[in-house]
């Protein structure tokens, strides 16, 4: 093996060049990761606010809400009462007074909360972390090159994402409030301020997503170019780790899908600001609200796979490493991802089953959608096959990998209900879809993200994350996640609509129900109790994430120092010294084999790095 010592011959750079406007793919990756984690807290906080409203409709929030005495008699009891007293006495209309008078969330604010929760989680958390952070950090290291093809574009990609986040954040404080038409922004609700009362909020929402679109576009061009042109000698396409395959496929999806959203957003901005009628329903205008849905979901469904494919890629790294076995069916894993990406383009209509499309189209989209079960099943069985006859190490990243597989199975199976058109008539726009998307994107992608962060942390920062805290975080998250989102399937079966701020307004959701399970009988007063349970679990889930973030920043400085290849992994990123210097490798490694050569018969060590020459004495296992 080459000597890593003389790799770090890079010159000293200024602080700004090194940490702020860095051109180094590793720094940009870490920037995206921290960006995503910060936005994760904004998005999660919004969710907790509206969860409170769903459990205790029209009751003041805890801590910042006014007390009952204050609401009834105007008597100042708590510190919060004092705050509200001051707000009501001031002349100008304060933000809190408009959005949550006395701590009670208004319906307008509620709509804004769930709109921004989804927008932030999809566009500012999951995509930046999966694609921005892992993509940037891993691609050059895992294919064996010194940096991205276009470092300046790469930096631009991050700073455009920052700009998009700032524009999105400003939207919270403009008169009329932020966008409140759902993250899907269905026209005409989103296209004309008269229907929501939202003026610049919706405009800023659209402008911010346009900027975020450019950021993704620039990033994806970079990824595609880098992967095609800059692989190390011997790194053929079918020797690439599956996470690189997933990022490659996702970059292509981003490149093709985001312009569709961008054009839809541009038309929306024209409708709102220039008086055009692309999405207007009036007969004289000639526009059509369904055009928005087609454009949005033609982007939106590939987007859903952009959210899950890198998660699959990360799980496909974690499971073989910690089973000490080759991935089962490497090529079929690649083909399954390509199949999912391809099918992603011809299933968008399933979001519009109840929009009045021709029934023949419903049949077509049902068939294509259910076909996604095939590549999904292939992937699941291959992950199981990887563990079969393995030697499984239950490290924290592996726990997340296993959680990813099991949650993805639930998310995939619940998708069959949604895909089935007759059943979808009933569960469309109910909590069933909320449960489904969270099982895929939280249960799937986020567990993969957590696993990936803990797994690659030693390479990113040269230290381990604290394992006790990581394990506590994992189990709390796993249990609280299931307690939060599994009951939502039941709400959906009961017909509980999504996006309603007060379920207690509906008799059919309040009816006493007796549920028999084996020999037990349970009495429910409608869904009141279940909504409270979900909210309590959601607060626990939110609390558990504080542990992760504390652990992340604490371990950055205080964690146990990690060796160069702590998990004994074959892929190239572990060939680079830790911390990885500018330029990554002293000498570009040559690749001799696939990424998953674990437990090869006749070998003394149970792993053979990709860069280890044939017939050389094994260096692994030290």
């Amino acid at each position: 093996m080459h000597d890593n010592e003389h790799a770090s011959h890079d010159h000293e750079e200024s602080f700004i060049r090194k940490y702020i406007f860095s051109l180094d793919h590793k720094t940009i990756g870490k920037q995206f990761l921290i960006y995503g984690l910060i936005m994760f807290f904004v998005g999660g906080g919004l969710a907790l606010l509206f969860r409170w409203q769903l459990a205790y409709p029209d009751q003041p929030l805890p801590i910042i809400g006014a007390s009952q005495q204050y609401l009834d008699e105007g008597e100042v009891v708590t510190g919060a009462d004092k705050m509200w007293e001051r707000i009501y006495e001031s002349d100008k209309e304060e933000w809190l007074e408009i959005n949550m008078p006395s701590g009670v969330i208004t319906p307008e604010f509620y709509n804004m909360l769930f709109t921004m929760h989804a927008t932030i989680m999809v566009f500012f958390v999951v995509v930046p972390i999966l694609v921005g952070a892992f993509g940037n950090f891993l691609i050059p290291l895992m294919i064996g090159t010194r940096d991205m093809a276009f470092p300046i574009l790469n930096m631009l990609s991050f700073w455009l994402a920052v700009l998009a986040a700032i524009v999105m954040a400003v939207g919270f404080f403009v008169p009329g409030g932020h966008a409140a038409a759902g993250w899907t922004g269905y026209a005409p609700l989103s296209a004309d301020p008269q229907w929501t009362g939202v003026e610049w909020g919706q405009n800023l929402w659209a402008i911010s997503l346009l900027i975020q679109g450019f950021s993704s576009l620039v990033g994806s061009i970079n990824y595609i170019t880098t992967i095609i042109n800059m692989r190390a000698p011997g790194m053929t396409f079918f020797r690439m780790p599956l996470v690189i395959w997933s990022l490659f496929i996702v970059a292509i999806l981003l490149l093709l899908a985001f312009p569709v959203l961008s054009s839809a957003l541009a038309l929306l901005i024209f409708d709102r600001l220039a008086g055009t009628t692309f999405f207007s329903a009036t007969a004289e205008g000639g526009g059509d609200p369904l055009l928005w849905q087609h454009l949005f979901w033609f982007f939106g469904h590939p987007e859903v796979y952009i959210l899950i494919l890198p998660g699959m890629g990360i799980a496909s790294e974690l499971i073989p490493v910690f089973s000490r076995k080759p991935i089962f069916g490497y090529r079929s894993m690649v083909y399954a991802m390509i199949a999912i990406a391809f099918l992603g383009w011809i299933v968008w209509g399933h979001h519009m089953f109840q929009s009045g499309m021709r029934s023949e189209m419903g049949n077509f989209f049902m068939t294509t959608t259910m076909l996604i079960a095939v590549p999904s099943a292939i992937k699941t069985f291959n992950w199981l096959g990887t563990m079969f006859r393995g030697s499984i190490r239950f490290t924290t990243p592996m726990l997340h990998g296993i959680a990813f597989v099991s949650m993805f199975v639930i998310g995939g199976l619940s998708g069959i209900y949604m895909a089935n058109t007759p059943v979808d008539i009933f569960i469309h726009d109910t909590y069933y879809i909320v449960a489904h998307i969270h099982y895929v994107v939280f249960g799937g992608s986020l567990f993969a993200i957590f696993g990936g962060i803990i797994f690659w942390f030693p390479k990113m920062y040269g230290r381990y994350m604290n394992d006790v805290l990581s394990k506590i975080h994992f189990w709390l998250t796993f249990i609280a996640f299931n307690c939060t989102f599994f009951p939502m399937h039941i709400l959906g079966v009961g017909g509980h609509m999504r996006r309603i701020s007060n379920p207690q307004q509906y008799e059919f959701l309040m009816e006493p129900t007796t549920i028999k399970f084996l020999m037990w009988q349970f009495e429910f007063q409608g869904f009141i109790g279940m909504n409270i349970f979900i909210t309590m679990s959601a607060f626990t889930l939110g609390f558990a994430q504080l542990i992760l973030v504390f652990n992340f920043f604490w371990s950055m400085y205080k964690g146990k120092v990690a060796e160069q290849n702590p998990w004994q992994v074959n892929t190239l990123e572990w060939e680079a010294p830790t911390p990885v210097p500018h330029g990554n490798f002293g000498q570009i490694p040559t690749v001799y084999r696939g990424p998953y050569e674990y437990s090869v018969p006749g070998e003394e060590s149970d792993w053979i790095p990709q860069a280890q020459p044939e017939h050389a004495p094994a260096t692994g296992g030290d």
Partner: protein
């Protein structure tokens, strides 16, 4: 879990519920098999001192088997679903000669019901407009002309297993036949603004005699 389904009161609802149950059992069995296998593997193949993993790269036979089996299940399920879907949503398959025709129009945040009156024509003097109250006879075919005057709403009657978006400047035909008299809620299922939560109409399914009396009261002859 399916015990939570609201009572079904439409002719086509049973077909929906049957599919719901079929998929429920299918997915439950798959879930138990996959999770069972996973748990067995996790216990049986956990790391033990001195035991090495087996070098297995994959199995083409297995890949073909699970691809083929899943594909077959998907198509069988689809075959059973097409007729149910067409029956509910395809206007060419609606029962002819409806007993009642009503225009339902969503607006922020109410459902406007328009009855054409005895002349069976909309836009004439004998039209009747009601806010949020829809009256139909039991065991009769009802056709609805669904539209909206502002944003997109969604006409949802959980007990009928019926949901259809209402779009501005577009008329979508919907049908149902209720099998049980009663009063059912018609929530809006598509986000339509700040009053979306609580946008609620009522479907009053009358016995034929009651319905006749209601008609007599509205349009005395």
């Amino acid at each position: 879990m399916l015990q939570w389904l609201p009572e079904n009161v439409s002719t086509f609802g049973q077909g929906v519920d049957d599919l719901f149950h079929a998929i429920y059992w299918l997915t439950l069995i798959v879930f138990i098999l996959v999770m069972g296998t996973l748990i067995v593997f996790l216990i049986k193949y956990r790391h033990q001192e001195g035991k090495k993993a087996d070098y297995i790269e994959g199995s083409t036979t297995l890949e073909i088997v699970w691809t083929a089996v899943t594909t077959v299940i998907v198509f069988v399920l689809a075959m059973f679903s097409y007729p149910q879907w067409n029956n509910i949503k395809s206007p060419t398959q609606f029962p002819d000669n409806p007993d009642v025709v009503v225009q339902v129009s969503g607006k922020q945040f109410n459902w406007d019901m328009t009855y054409p009156g005895p002349d069976n024509e909309f836009g004439t003097d004998d039209d009747l407009e009601l806010e949020n109250e829809l009256h139909v006879p039991v065991n009769a075919v009802v056709h609805i002309r669904l539209t909206s005057i502002d944003v997109i709403h969604s006409f949802f009657v959980p007990q009928l297993r019926l949901k259809q978006d209402a779009l501005p400047n577009r008329f979508i035909n919907v049908w149902f036949e209720a099998t049980k008299a009663g009063r059912y809620e018609i929530p809006c299922a598509e986000l339509c603004g700040f009053g979306h939560s609580g946008m609620l109409g009522y479907l009053n399914v009358h016995t034929q005699a009651d319905y006749d009396a209601w008609v007599q009261e509205r349009w005395p002859q």
